[in-house]
Amino acid sequence: MLILPLAAGTLLAVMFLQWWERRLLGWWQDRQGPNRVGWFGVLQGVADGIKFITKDDWLPPFGDRVLFVLAPVIVAGSMLLVLGVIPFAPEVYVADLNIALLWFLAMSSLAVYGVLLGGFASNNKYALLGSLRAAAQMVTYEVFMGLSIMGVVIHAGSFSLVDIVEAQQDLWFIVPQFLGFVIFFIAGLAESHRLPFDLPEAEHELTAGFHTEYSGMKFVLLMCGEYVAVIVTSCLLVLLFFGGWLVPDFLDFLPPIVWFGAKVLVFIHIFVLLRAAIPRPRYDQLMSLGWKILLPLTLVNLLVTGFFVLWEF
């Protein structure tokens, strides 16, 4: 029932999100941003959409055509599929899987293929370098993205997102799992390969990285995948660490879905702010941060969490 409105709503949200992001970036960087189409430029997304749809649908004759077309579909499709297991309010979800968290991890690991194949099929040196970086970066950060949320799973005793939210009635998991939150946030940022972790498409070094050869609607699908990844990661941060739709009793004059949306919006804004605020690290710095600092921290976090949970029994 909810699937079609959810997919359509997300794509509309992506359209407005990219306009809103550009406006915010403009505001923070002391310039205007897109402000011409419609009221304060709200309809910029529509104008961009028309432009992209009417563009020539170009396939690079020197590349691998089948994989080239397949790659953007994998990127956007895998991220849209994650939305199916996200509960927006009690009883408002497409499916309450008992492995919802693993479903998210599985889909985000399939998203790697889109980026990898996109760069490989382009048969272009910059695209290949970009997708090699993307593969290494995403496989690395996936390892402790999965491990960092296991602390939450230990506390809640379930992989189901509905159960995890309901386990936070008394205390949001941000308090006992602060380290897990920080690591999951960094890993989520790296998984969605946005600034400051956009090394796969670093425009100063690699033209546009893995999507150098993409244009028109295929480029839009890649961008959609990126923005949906931001929305999905924000939703999961709220569900796992900030109590989902739950709020303290004196605040429940608004329906739960509004509170959930408000919390998600806060995180989306933090993602945009990080893009404006932090410079891009070097590639080897990114990898050594992952393997030498974040992975050991995650394991220590898991060990300490397990110790305390067993202590209480």
């Binding site: 492995i99 399939l110 293929y113 990898l116 996936e142």
Partner: protein, 171 residues
């Protein structure tokens, strides 16, 4: 309905595995391998093992085959390797493997048909908790041994990588 849910992914798995063997382009073969693994995951899910299905996607399709594809991309196999593959795919090459595989197939059909009850599952869903309890009670020794093996592999990989770094520093 349930039978269709089993047979469709089963056929997809068989066909895509066939393509894994016969494709001459290594990257296309790997994509078919991913499709094959995903359809096996669907079969696991239908048989009532959602946890095994999720792990199949996360670990095999999401991590191991990504690394295969990574290596294939680094080697940048061009037209020469496709031509070499097609030379290896002579009809005569199929006889030996076909004989061996048919022996295996006959054995397996014999074993399965000898079972008192042909159905593998009892229709119950095996959740993550059940898997965890099984792993850390009856199969604890196997888990520990796998842990040893992985640790040894980790240390070995670290050792090889470190020697390479030291050699590079010398000049």
């Amino acid at each position: 309905m349930d039978l269709a849910l089993f047979w469709i992914p089963a056929v997809v798995a068989l066909v895509s595995t066939g393509f894994v063997i016969t494709r001459k382009n290594a990257s296309h073969a790997l994509i078919y391998l991913v499709v094959s693994l995903l359809s096996v995951a669907v079969i696991f899910f239908v048989l009532g093992a959602p946890f095994a299905a999720a792990l199949e996607v996360v670990i095999y399709a999401g991590a191991i085959v990504v690394l295969f594809l990574f290596v294939v991309m680094m080697l940048n196999l061009g037209k020469t390797s496709v031509m070499r593959e097609s030379r290896w795919m002579r009809p005569g090459m199929w006889i030996g493997p076909a004989v061996l595989v048919s022996i295996l197939l006959i054995t397996m059909v014999y074993v399965i048909s000898g079972m008192p009850d042909a159905s593998v599952t009892r229709g119950e869903v095996v959740g993550p908790k059940t898997v965890g309890i099984q792993l850390f009670q009856p199969y604890l020794l196997a888990v520990e041994l796998a842990g040893f093996l992985l640790l040894a592999a980790l240390i070995g990989a670290y050792h090889l990588g470190r020697r390479y770094l030291e050699q590079r520093r010398e000049p």
